[in-house]
Symmetry: C2
Subunit: 125 residues, 2 copies
């Protein structure tokens, strides 16, 4: 788990924006977490509840990575039982179009897939 440098400079395969983007989100799970965030999920256990059943160690690692890349921020939303929530940053919200184009491609070309209508987010109770 050794990082290559102390700084936030990460390894890049090339200067191509597609390749560099894939270095960050190019795996089976990362964008699913981002999708869940767009769907209004905020906590570790909410992510675990998704139908794809992400392994817990992978979820933890991906959340850490997403925080390192400043796609999400982790903050406690209550103390005593300290509980954390993960929120999309502006950088993370900018992944929305990537997700949307995947939804469009999937719905057009992969039979049996169907995006859910995301209910408008309510104010926190």
């Amino acid at each position: 788990m050794a990082k290559q440098t102390e700084s936030s400079e990460k390894f890049k395969r090339s200067s191509c924006p597609v390749a560099s983007t894939l270095d960050i989100i190019g795996d089976k799970w990362t964008l699913l977490v981002v999708r869940d965030l767009f769907a209004g999920k905020r906590t570790y256990s909410e992510f675990q509840g998704s139908p794809e059943k992400i392994p817990t160690n992978i979820l933890a690692e991906r959340l850490k990575r997403l925080a390192e890349y400043e796609i999400v921020v982790k903050k406690p939303y209550q103390h005593h039982p300290v509980r954390y929530e993960y929120l999309l940053t502006a950088k993370g919200k900018d992944l929305g179009p990537v997700l949307m184009t995947m939804v469009q491609w999937g719905e057009k070309h992969l039979p049996g897939t169907k995006a859910q209508i995301i209910p408008a987010k309510e104010a926190k109770p």
Copy 2:
């Protein structure tokens, strides 16, 4: 290398179009091959020439997968020395918007990345 079924039905983690799309293109290399196809590359050795230096066994496997999913078609473009070219299908061309949104995200958020202007394709020599 055993497939789960004889038919072209592939395993899906869920009915979510994002998850199902990621089941196909959710890795570090697949979309780079698609990017190269959009950039006008057509042959195995042209893909190998890209700056990310994809391992040859992975390139072969990904091309096979892309053909199975009908994102590309493989066809010989000359006999005698049989040489193959890979071409995007309509389904593959529909991945263009996914690539474009990644370019936009990368250029905005990943310093040092820069999309190349793709030169107009010349006639085959």
